[in-house]
Amino acid sequence: MKWIVAIIQPHRLEAVKQALIDVEVFRLTVSDVQGYGRQKGHTEYFRGQPMQVNLIRKVRLDIAVNDNFVQPTINAILKGARTGPKGNVGDGKIFVLPLENVVRISDGTMGGEAI
């Protein structure tokens, strides 16, 4: 089992979720984060002074999946998260961590089938 963390553009969340549903990944956890990466921030203005906002608002997805779902999940995220045909700086990253166990709280089911 793997624990997949994806950092994406906030406005791609809907598309990523749809793409995940298409590959039958239905469960995930979303949180708001701020990222610091290759992407340059956008400019806000305060009484005439432009400011570069470097920490950029992003959305983080945490998805636990069984091993055979890892590649489809990554592909789905890639598909949903890219902002253009060739992608852009700032589109985000996917991280794959090993996951040892899962427990469903309601009934205590463990392991792969609990995911």
């Binding site: 406005h11 809907e14 708001d32 701020q34 921030g41 956008h42 400019t43 806000e44 203005y45 002074q49 432009p50 400011m51 570069q52 906002v53 470097n54 920490l55 950029i56």
Partner: protein, 500 residues
């Protein structure tokens, strides 16, 4: 790098300037019938629409003495109507998604600036000048640029009490501001800011000023006031504080404009997520508060009529809120806070044309009906699928039309005492017809003219933001600002270019 002036020439502001020139041309054209007129006698001009009141006012030899009490209430009323704009900004701003919070508030604040200028540049003269073209429009050269107001002798007595024309003009300006600001409710979350500014500027000249003149022409010659006479009968429609002029016109224009704009991306899913209903409630509270100036101030003095309008407003509004949440309760068993706020606004809208004409026992009936009818008014969009985002049509046009009709039902000449008509219940059923005809004509007029303006703007500067701005939110996309930063995360590091 191009100089600002080159940039200016190459781009939109130049177009705007050309627009302003066009308007100037129009003003001159409109003013034509007035060229011959001598300087308007200040006291005589905007006399009371109410005949007997005017009759009792003595023909002042020099400057009529001011009624300090009436002037005091008109000053306060004008300030009260002004606070409706920040109130409306909160009311609308709290309902939209957080990414459009500031842009939505901005529509009201921009109206304060833009219509303030428009009123100076002829708006006042068009709406409250001497009648031309069978009461379709007003004009006085002396009222252009508010010139005549800088004179101690500029007094008016539309409520039978002498007040300086300056405060009368400002009171009416606030009405001219809030009316287009209401339209923002229909087009929230997707309209270009530049297009909004241009739209309300033009709309004020071509829709608001003529309609205001049609009802409130100071010489009593407006076409709505005389709609019966124009049709060969006698009588006409009444609209105490602007149910037709303000609410029907803005609600209908909102509907038309939102049809031109199209629906928001994701509509009807994913577009409803109010960022702060508490601010919406507060905005509704400020609206109610300011509406006392709007309605009771429309008596144009500190008199019995003002107190009656105040009372009718209070009772109808309370019942409007109860009506709406009762409808909700019966419908889905959840009385919501947005519901009571919306019901209050519905009650206020419906009592607006009526408050100076109907007896107090009719106020709760009008309010309750408004709350229930506007609740359903806000539901019909799901049937037809247009995206009247914050229900400017559903509440203001529907509630305004209802109020216009009910004024015809419940009006009582005895109560008004200033030449108000009797209504259906007092044995004058035709009054309902005049109300219906005036309101319907206002609907058609607003719809057609708004459509023309919308087409013109769409072809030139474009009405709708780009898809990427809509997704990112108008706050960042248009204004370069972020509405809320109240999470626990410390402020993002920012760099001032050149300082880093």
């Amino acid at each position: 790098m191009p100089t600002p002036w080159k940039m200016f020439w190459a781009s939109r502001p130049r177009k705007c300037l050309m627009g302003i020139c066009a308007i100037a041309t129009m003003l001159i054209f409109m003013a034509a019938p007035a060229w011959g007129q001598t300087a308007t006698a200040p006291v005589a001009a905007p006399v009371a629409a109410a005949t007997q009141a005017a009759a009792t006012a003595p023909a002042a030899p020099a400057v009529a003495p001011i009624d300090t009490g009436a002037t005091s209430w008109m000053l306060a009323s004008t300030a009260l109507v002004m606070i409706m704009m920040p109130g409306l900004a909160l009311y609308y701003g709290g309902i939209v998604r957080k990414k459009n919070f500031l842009a939505t508030m901005m529509t009201s604040y921009a109206a304060l600036g833009v219509i303030g200028l428009q009123w100076f540049l002829g708006g006042y003269s068009l709406a409250f000048g001497t009648s031309h073209w069978h009461g379709f429009i007003g004009w006085d050269n002396s009222r252009m640029c508010l010139l005549n107001l800088s004179s101690h002798s500029a007094m008016v007595s539309p409520g039978g009490q002498n007040i300086p024309e300056a405060v009368f003009s400002m009171f009416q300006l606030m009405f001219a501001i809030i009316t287009p600001a209401l339209i923002a409710g229909s087009v929230a979350e997707r309209m270009k800011f530049g297009a909004w500014v241009a739209f309300i500027f033009l709309w004020a000249y071509f829709v608001y000023d003529p309609l205001a003149h049609a009802v409130w022409s100071p010489d009593g010659n407006g076409w709505m006031t005389n709609i019966g006479t124009l049709l060969g009968s006698t009588g006409g429609a009444v609209d105490f504080a602007g149910g037709t002029v303000v609410h029907i016109s803005s609600g209908v224009s909102g509907l038309i404009l939102c049809l031109f704009l199209g629906r928001r991306l994701g509509f009807p899913r994913n577009v409803i997520q109010p960022n702060s209903l508490g601010l919406t409630l507060t905005g509704a509270g400020l609206l109610w508060f300011g509406w006392y100036g709007f309605n009771a101030g429309s008596a144009n003095g500190s008199n019995y009529l003002a107190c009656i309008a105040f009372t009718n407003t209070t009772i109808a509004t309370a019942l409007g809120g109860l009506g709406w949440i009762t409808a909700e309760w019966l419908h889905h068993r959840r009385p919501t806070t947005l519901g009571i706020a919306s019901g209050f606004v519905a009650g206020l809208v419906a009592i607006t044309p009526a408050c100076g004409y109907v007896t107090i026992w009719s106020a709760p009936i009008i309010g309750l009906l408004a709350g229930i009818v506007c609740y359903w008014g806000a539901q019909i969009k799901t049937l037809f699928g247009y995206d009247d985002a914050l229900d400017a049509f559903g509440v203001h046009a529907v509630g305004g039309f209802l109020g216009a009709l009910l004024t015809g039902v419940f009006a009582s000449a005895a109560l008004n005492g200033h030449g108000g008509p009797n209504g259906l219940i007092e044995g004058n059923p035709i009054q309902v017809l005049w109300q219906f005809l005036a309101a319907s004509n206002a609907v058609i007029y607003s719809a057609v003219v708004t459509a023309v303006i919308a087409i013109v703007l769409d072809k030139t500067i474009g009405l709708r933001v780009s898809e990427s701005v809509e997704i990112e939110g108008l706050d960042i996309g248009i204004h370069g600002e972020n509405g809320w930063d109240v999470g626990t995360l410390p402020e993002p590091a920012i760099t001032l270019p050149g300082a880093a």
